[in-house]
Amino acid sequence: MNLDLTEDQSMLADSIERFGTERWPAADRWRLLREAGAKGVPELWGEIAELGWLMIPFAEEQGGLGGSFDDAMVLASGIGKHLLPVPVSTNAVLVAPLLKDCPAEFLEDVMTGKVRVALALGDGDSRFDHLNVATTAERTGAGYTLNGVKNFVADGGDADHFIVPARTSGSGAELEGISLFLLSRESDGLTVETYRSIDNHRHCRLRLSGAETGSARLLGEEGKGGLPLGMAVKGGVLAQCAEAVGAMDALCNLTLEYLKTRSQFGQPIGTFQSLQHRMVDMFIAYEEAYSITVRATLEAKEGVMDRGRMASAAKAKVGQTSLFVARQAIQLHGGIGTSDESVVSHYLRRLTMLDMALGNASHHLQRFAAIA
């Protein structure tokens, strides 16, 4: 057993640390986002691609760096720590395994950041059950015709292509009969409604009414997309847990610093015992979140087949502990923690959305119970 980072992983962590500190300093986040305005900061995606980070979740056969779960964890947690507005967990980790049979040039475009791909979730009434697919795909001529609504395309706001799970047979949450399609944003019969969430991530809703796709756009085998979809979501869940853990790390430390520097009643507020205990609970929460995330990540890496039970345990626990930490970080900062200018409130907003994406803590708690 060895829970330490490898040398390569330490180097990766250092390089994210440098990039975060220099290119996207937490204290300037508010100003940087203001200056960027409605278009966001799409240029960051190209910059991190240049650093090779987008190759990490892709397998070597695809021209990537191996696609190992623990490398993705290191990457995502660095991004979460610095609140970098780059949707690596979704536009890279989540989609990478689903793109494995795509042509080499396309994969290269994805890894160099020229082309962005997002996974379409939130099918009709399915809520967080991603295998509950109601969107249909009917064979027509050389390809398929798709009909349905995808309410949440995670970080799909700026995507050029969407991976759309649709039923070629079966119904409800049956694994059999789910097929995965790669659809260009420009496809006929596809309406894309873009929206922004409170953490400044940009998502979209897809309305598919007779959207057509050539058969070349089918990813993998017809009707066999359920299993890979489940596996991909698991990877995405783990990356999001890591992102949240990184954010918790930053929050604990900056709150600790604040307790030592802010004075009221003639003394640093960190001398008040009620705040000391709260701060300790925050560090314990971080320790817990880190622990369960590492465990779920390493079990996934070792190929333990548990139908995603451990990943659900991590998502539930991380959702609970990260929101506790973020809310307490604000509380201990007092008024300043509630301001838009303070990065503390940005962490709460991001963690609220990270908890929701790919299923919130109560969803994963129920899922964990159901798999037992």
């Binding site: 809520r127 929206y195 922004r196 409170i198 705040l275 509380q331 301001s339 907003r349 919130n360």
Partner: protein
């Protein structure tokens, strides 16, 4: 002991119910149920509507233009207002400074200010907190120096909510340096049009502009705007403690309709052949919150009973504030959770509209974080209970 209302109280309740049914604009409902305030314009309109009916100052004595209602009547009023999703009257003029003016102010101050608070023509903001003086308010350093018939004020106020729409600010300033920090503090009424006042907006985490920083640079205020005696400002704050009961009651009684709002949202969402409200996980969470709301409502009744009997409520107002803010946070969090992926739609970027109760539910959940910080943080409330009531 009994909970029954007298025939007169019942008649009063029916009168209120009828009034609210006609006067409350349904478009405020979602925001109010999310624990959010309507806009300042809407609040001013609402204040004027109540004033026209003679109910502009429900907690004030008759001689100052109030209703002179008994605590029971006040409880009925707030209950009916909650039931109708009426806006909560903005409290800084009505509950914070108004009562200080009618208790300690000069006749001239009473005549000038009180009627316009009731009519909604004036909007008062509270200039107490400063960058270095939050929980420790006595650390405030904004100074007022006497110069002939004027005070000249210099300093900075922080978190001055609605300063950007206010006509007046009641301001705690230091007029002399004394041994005890609580001494030498004065309460001064400032016209916001006075030269030397600069306002900088401070947006909160819900991306809204409620609050501000206010810079005071050689602001000259007539000496007649001093409230009560110079150097005694700290003591006037104490009269506020009683008023907290009223503020607490008006907000805490809203919890039940806020829980209802989640219930309606959950019932609109199809899930597993039924609705989300039918799932055991959501149903039990809603039940828990309704129990919290009922308990808190009853705590309000006890406060009102104390007031009716003219007895000291001890720590009850602090207890109420603590439980209300924590419960409001849970309620708004659950609402957001119930919305599922819809909660991601904070702002539409392609002109397609946002889901019915978004982004208000999430705005409510974020803004609710403020409630355990302002008006005495949860930690400070617990300190007060421990020290003043439990003798610890």
């Amino acid at each position: 002991m009994n909970l029954e209302l007298s025939p007169e109280d019942l008649a009063f309740r029916d009168e209120l119910r009828e009034f609210f049914a006609g006067a409350v604009r349904p478009e405020y409902r979602t925001a109010i149920r999310a624990g959010l305030r309507p806009t300042p314009q809407q609040l001013t309109e609402w204040q004027a509507t109540l004033a026209e009916r003679g109910w502009g100052a429900p907690t004030w004595p008759k001689e100052y233009g109030g209703t002179g209602w008994t605590p029971t009547q006040l409880y009925i009023f707030e209950t009916e207002a909650a039931r109708a999703d009426a806006p909560i009257q903005f409290h800084q003029g009505l509950e914070l400074i108004g009562p200080i003016i009618f208790t300690f102010g000069t006749d001239d101050q009473k005549e000038r200010y009180l009627p316009r608070i009731i009519s909604g023509e004036d909007w008062w903001c509270q200039g107490y907190s400063e960058p270095g003086a939050g929980s420790d308010l006595a650390a405030l350093s904004t100074r007022a120096v006497r110069d002939g018939d004027h005070y000249v004020i210099n300093g900075q106020k922080m978190w001055t909510s609605y300063a950007h729409v206010a006509s007046h600010m009641f301001c705690l300033v230091r007029t002399s340096k004394e041994e005890r920090r609580q001494q030498g503090i004065s309460l001064i009424l400032v016209d916001m049009n006075t030269p030397g006042i600069k306002i900088r907006p401070v947006e909160t985490l819900d991306e809204k502009h409620h609050t501000n920083e206010v810079f005071l640079d050689d602001v000259r205020v007539p000496v007649s705007n001093l409230l009560g005696e110079e150097g005694k400002g700290w003591g006037y704050g104490k009269v506020l403690l009683d008023r907290e009961r009223a503020v607490g009651a008006s907000t805490a009684l809203r919890l039940r309709s806020q829980v209802d709002a989640i219930y309606s949202a959950a019932r609109r969402i199809p899930f597993g052949g039924a609705t989300l409200a039918d799932t055991p996980a959501v149903a039990t969470q809603l039940a828990q919150l309704e129990i919290e709301a009922l308990t808190i409502e009853t705590m309000v009744m006890r406060l009102m009973a104390d007031a009716a009997a003219g007895v000291d409520s001890g720590p009850r107002a602090s207890m109420l504030k603590l439980r209300w803010s924590e419960t409001l946070q849970k309620v708004t969090e659950l609402w957001t959770e119930v919305l599922g992926y819809d909660a991601a739609v904070f702002e539409d970027l392609s002109g397609e509209g946002v889901p019915e109760d978004m982004p208000l539910a999430l705005q409510g959940a974020l803004y609710a974080r403020v409630t355990s910080i302002y008006g005495g943080s949860s930690e400070i409330q617990r300190n007060i209970i421990a020290r003043r009531s439990l003798g610890l």
